[in-house]
Symmetry: C2
């Protein structure tokens, strides 16, 4: 079912500073910071040949990454996202396989339907599925 | 400098159980568990079309992931690995860019030269570079 690794998301207090490390010390291609207020994050994409890394900074009062950064003030790996062809079928297969799907599909930060799987059911890793 | 995302590594107490979730609930192709005693891990590869996820279980007394699992008993994202063409040049560029390289290159779990970058210098993420 799961296809490509769409992205790895890294939470940080400051995407501008974080992206400088990827651009400078690691020589990667990074985008300019972009605000996604409806998703509560400011994002920078680190564009790799086969996938991308998303650097996420909290934006606004109710950012979904605020709690993670309160526990991990230095930042850290936040979630991974895999592509699926059909989000409803994927969510059903995950649930049938005994892993908890966190709510019905909603529109994610890329404008596509997504669901998240409970980290405790996937080796402690918050896991997103995105219909592409 | 950095090229493809070679892998995302996830630490878990039990790769056999963890891999069943990837195989069953998520429908991914996973390998049989493989012991790498010289690296202190048992590993399962989740093979995706564009990269791979490595599920790592501690093996032996001095496993490099034991401390992580003591802090994160449910498992979690452990590190990410990017490909580079020349490990010595890459390590020099990282250091020149102000990030700390953890020791000289050594041979990693795939039999290729690797270095790690201090997580505090890369958004809290333990970052491996592998010469391919």
């Amino acid at each position: 079912m799961i296809g490509r690794l769409n992205h790895v998301a890294i939470a940080t207090q400051d995407v501008a500073a974080a992206s400088e490390v990827y651009r400078g010390a690691m020589g990667a291609k990074v985008t300019e910071p972009q605000d996604l207020p409806e998703h509560g994050v400011r994002v920078v994409f680190v564009e790799l040949p086969n996938t991308k890394v998303e650097l996420l900074e909290p934006l606004g009062e109710n950012s979904p990454i605020a709690a993670f950064l309160a526990k991990n003030p230095a930042g850290g790996l936040h979630h991974v996202c895999y592509e699926v062809e059909d989000i409803e079928a994927a969510a059903a297969q995950v649930a049938a396989g005994g892993a908890r799907v966190l709510g019905p599909p909603k529109i994610g930060a890329h404008g596509k339907p997504v669901v998240f799987i409970h980290p405790k059911d996937v080796s402690g890793v918050l896991t997103e599925l995105e219909q592409v």
